[in-house]
Symmetry: none
Subunit: 143 residues, 2 copies
Amino acid sequence: MFLGEFQHTVDQKGRLAIPAKFREALAAGAVVTRGLDKCLVIYPRGEWDSLAAKVSRLPQTQPHVRTLSRLLFSGAVDFTLDSQGRTLLPQYLRAYAAITTDVAVIGLHQRIEVWGLEAWNAVKAATEADGGSLAEQLADLGI
Amino acid sequence: MFLGEFQHTVDQKGRLAIPAKFREALAAGAVVTRGLDKCLVIYPRGEWDSLAAKVSRLPQTQPHVRTLSRLLFSGAVDFTLDSQGRTLLPQYLRAYAAITTDVAVIGLHQRIEVWGLEAWNAVKAATEADGGSLAEQLADLGI
DNA sequence: ATAAATGTGGGGAAAAGTGGGGTGAAGTGT
DNA sequence: ACACTTCACCCCACTTTTCCCCACATTTAT
């Protein structure tokens, strides 16, 4: 289970150190891909496999199914850790999430998100300012 | 499993380097053909066989089934790698996908797509602009 | 306070991507 | 049937990126 917020830096080679607490759960294999909010998402193998299987089962003759497949799979990279517990983020993924040097690594239960630090701070600020309506929407979901 | 986005170039002889990560899975045999969206598609042998079987089973009495058959089978070429891990794309396939020099090679789980770089960037831009409806689809899948 | 673990930086070997010649087979036209 | 061109495939060479290793600073735990 991934929890917590960590501030790390991406070095000039595009490497990002993964919080030590997360490494064990990712060692068995994982995938990084584009998230829906201009951030990157790391799925451990099990999560990713079930997601990929669901998408693959859709009829690829439908245009929006192909679009969805491309969004999901084209951005994805097999996630590996080097001996220091770092991963190499491809240039196009860094570009997608506007990641330069400072990033926030966020544990979100079954998955991990990686944000450019500025974007993350903006999201946090927006969330806190917006607490009221968020509560209402969550109420609609029965939480 | 094919994943990721790679920017490669086609040289003057029409050769395209296949990402190293993909080579092993293609070495056992594969097929290149026209895709549905003005791109080229590379299917490993197993995938191609099941796709070909599926299409053959469709009622060839319907005009658009015949069109699909022609698109798929007439353009198909046996895929081979040279000693540098490159493949030779026939001129008519390059023409179909408007491929000149810069291309994007996209891993899509069971298949690989090859796009002219401009066309691919256009697809990506359209996808990002359309993020909302894709999020809904993912929600429908229970993600 | 000492030891261990974590995050960060960089050098160097290996691999990947790119370009270009040369040889032989296939196809074209006379 | 012949010369000629064109194309596919083999080899070699170069540049860039990736990966593996070592080193150091800072934090955490004992």
